[in-house]
């Protein structure tokens, strides 16, 4: 079983997502941008500190790429400013910013060799001769592309082009490296390798990375902090554990990972950290320190791996009756879909263990669905039609 422990009590103590301003490299303050009346970014503020790996996560059209382009200087903000090392760079053109971008399409110069592509930025800065050569070679070594230095980009695979694009950007020693969905064009296996590679590179270089992605796995596995974006705004900023285990709202909960929702009503509060919630025909205790009033509609959130299927739930443990609709064996885990008697369909995901009698359930069999108390999250219901 998962050895995880719920974070949200610890988190609230140290104020999630706030970083002391002193070690901040990039500071985005109150940024807004609209294209032809359509709001793409609304009042975005974000502090990025030295050597931090930040992911901007959201569906397409949420404004994450525009935010990146504003930082790079390709777009001008309607309101708000961007500070790099405390200096306002909002009005500087891209070529004057100590920020480099890895483009989604890589955008390698097709008429130059790999080495010439990497040397491009340094040559413009006046590097010549040995020093230029050494730096280019060093950057190519970092992405393991030294042997292909004389090739033209048209002769490289997608993964190789990706590496060259990264080398071409990092060779300029930017203060912040921006990556616009850099892995989206790669196949799944290569993508996983590149994730590890990028992480290693970032650690070695100590440069702050801001990566845009719509892939939540990528965001969780690579980042120090994840910025979840929703319709031109920031929905939540937090570590991968914070956004996964203590989502700020239902949108974040649904966007990151699978989620089971149990609609309920607040009955009352037992002390500071515990709520009584009526869910279907049952009254359960849920941990929450949020300001929720009796009578308020809420959703109880449980991840598939938090649910337990059992026949003999202890008296104190909350459970719901249901019948098994589907079971699928996935090697390391066993996924189950259960139709609860009270209505909703929920998904459970358990580590496979052939000695556990719980794994012998058949489709149609009746089970009790329970969970470890304290692992649930209670959020106000944003959509009362649920």
């Amino acid at each position: 079983m998962t050895g995880k422990r719920r974070l949200h009590q610890q988190i609230s103590a140290h104020n999630p997502g706030k970083i002391a301003v002193s070690d901040s490299v990039l500071s985005i303050r109150g940024l807004s941008k609209a294209f032809g009346g359509l709001k793409v970014l609304t009042d975005i503020s974000l502090e990025v500190s030295q050597g931090e790996f930040i992911t901007l996560l959201g569906p397409s059209g949420c404004g994450k790429t525009t935010l990146l382009r504003l930082v790079a200087g390709f777009e001008k903000p309607d309101r708000g400013s961007v500070y790099l090392d405390g200096v306002d760079i909002s009005s500087l053109p891209p070529e004057k910013r100590q920020v480099n971008t890895v483009f989604q399409s890589y955008a390698l110069f097709p008429h130059m060799t790999v080495a010439a592509n990497v040397a491009f930025g340094l040559e413009l800065k006046g590097f010549r001769g040995r020093e230029l050569n050494d730096r280019v070679n060093q950057a190519l070594d970092q992405v393991r592309m030294r042997e292909l230095a004389d090739r033209y980009p048209g002769r490289l695979s997608g993964g190789q082009q990706q590496r060259v694009a990264i080398a071409r950007a990092v060779v300029n020693t930017p203060r912040v490296l921006l990556l616009d969905e850099p892995l989206s064009a790669l196949d799944a296996r290569l993508r996983r390798d590149m994730q590890i590679e990028l992480k290693r590179l970032q650690r070695e270089l100590g440069i702050a990375f801001i990566l845009v992605t719509h892939d939540q796995d990528e965001a969780l596995s690579m980042s120090d902090r994840v910025v979840v974006m929703q319709d031109s705004r920031i929905a939540q900023i937090g570590t991968p554990r914070e956004v996964y285990e203590d989502p700020a709202n239902l949108y974040v909960a649904r966007f990151i990972g699978d989620i089971n929702l149990f609609p309920g009503t607040v009955i009352g509060r037992n002390g500071k950290n515990e709520l009584q919630v009526q869910i279907f025909d049952r009254r359960v205790l849920a941990r929450s320190d949020k300001a929720l009033q009796p009578g308020q509609l809420v959703q109880l959130l449980l991840r598939p791996e938090d649910l337990r299927l059992t026949e003999d739930a202890a008296e104190k443990v909350p459970f719901f009756w249901g019948s098994i609709m589907e079971r699928s064996y996935r090697g390391s885990t066993l996924d189950t879909t259960i139709h609860l008697d009270a209505g909703p369909v929920v998904r459970a995901c358990e580590f496979f263990d052939e000695d556990d009698p719980d794994f012998d359930y058949r489709v149609g069999e009746r089970v009790k669905v329970s969970w470890v108390q304290g692992w649930e999250v209670v959020l106000p219901d944003e959509d009362p039609t649920h």
Partner: protein
């Protein structure tokens, strides 16, 4: 059966295309003045051609105009294409549309309007009127060629160059122009050819002081084809063959360098 039919068709097309040119070339070396039958090999028409001062002068004029017009049209067309692709400005579509119209309009219409214009604003008919007219009718073709190439680029290439620190000038010199080189060359060659063999516009906008080759030939063949003309035409076919081979080699080189997918 099917195979021989296909071969026949293939040969038919090639004969249709190249027999006239072949006859012209053969007659350039034919001792018989009227090309009615083969009387033996000679190079005397080439010497006669070189000795004809009017013909040689017209050739010089034509080449001068073609080179100047092709260069100017390519330069202007390149900048126009960059402007059309990169910027969104008021009147962009109208401007593009008028260029298309210019290409579609019958030459005779263009010729008359240019003549009226030159006479109206008092430009003497001669070198300058000819050059301006040739630039005008070459321009749509150069804009089209360069635009097509620009649209084939990854639009983030320009962003990438700026991101790496390139100013506007460096962007043009180090990224845009090298990438456009094949397109610029084909525009130039296309304009050169268009200018060299234009009859209609040239006949309207040039004066007696500046005779060009197609008009000279035209006036010479009014009283029967002179063998010097055959000799000159043979040289021009040879020249265009060289140009075609050069442009093909350039295209090949570009493919070797690997276009971005």
């Amino acid at each position: 059966m099917r195979k021989s039919l296909r071969l026949l068709f293939f040969c038919g097309i090639f004969l249709y295309l190249y027999v006239p040119i072949a006859i012209l070339i053969i007659n350039a070396f034919n001792l018989n003045r009227y090309g009615l039958r083969w009387d033996g090999f000679t190079l005397k028409w080439f010497t006669a051609m070189a000795a004809n001062p009017g013909l040689m002068e017209a050739t010089r004029h034509s080449l001068t105009i073609a080179i100047c017009a092709a260069s100017a049209a390519t330069a202007i067309g390149c900048l126009a294409a960059i402007g059309f692709t990169r910027y969104r400005f008021v009147g962009r579509r109208i401007l593009q549309g008028t260029l298309m119209t210019l290409m579609m309009a019958p030459d005779i219409i263009l010729a008359i309007s240019l003549l009226v214009l030159f006479v109206g604003i008092g430009i003497a008919l001669g070198f300058w009127s000819l050059l301006l007219s040739h630039i005008t009718f070459c321009l749509p073709f150069t804009v089209m060629t360069v635009t097509a190439r620009l649209q084939g680029f990854d639009r983030f290439l320009l962003d990438a160059a700026r991101d790496l620190g390139a100013s506007e000038g460096q962007l043009l010199r180090r990224v845009v122009l090298p990438l456009l080189r094949p397109a610029l060359l084909s525009s130039w060659l296309l304009s050169f050819t268009l200018s060299l063999d234009d009859v209609i516009v040239s006949s309207f906008v040039t004066g007696p002081s500046y005779d060009v080759l197609p008009l000279k030939i035209f006036s010479m063949v009014k009283v029967g084809v002179k063998p010097e003309v055959n000799a000159l035409a043979t040289l021009m076919v040879a020249l265009s063959l060289v140009l075609v081979v050069i442009s093909q080699l350039l295209v090949k080189e570009r493919d070797k360098n690997g276009k971005n997918k």
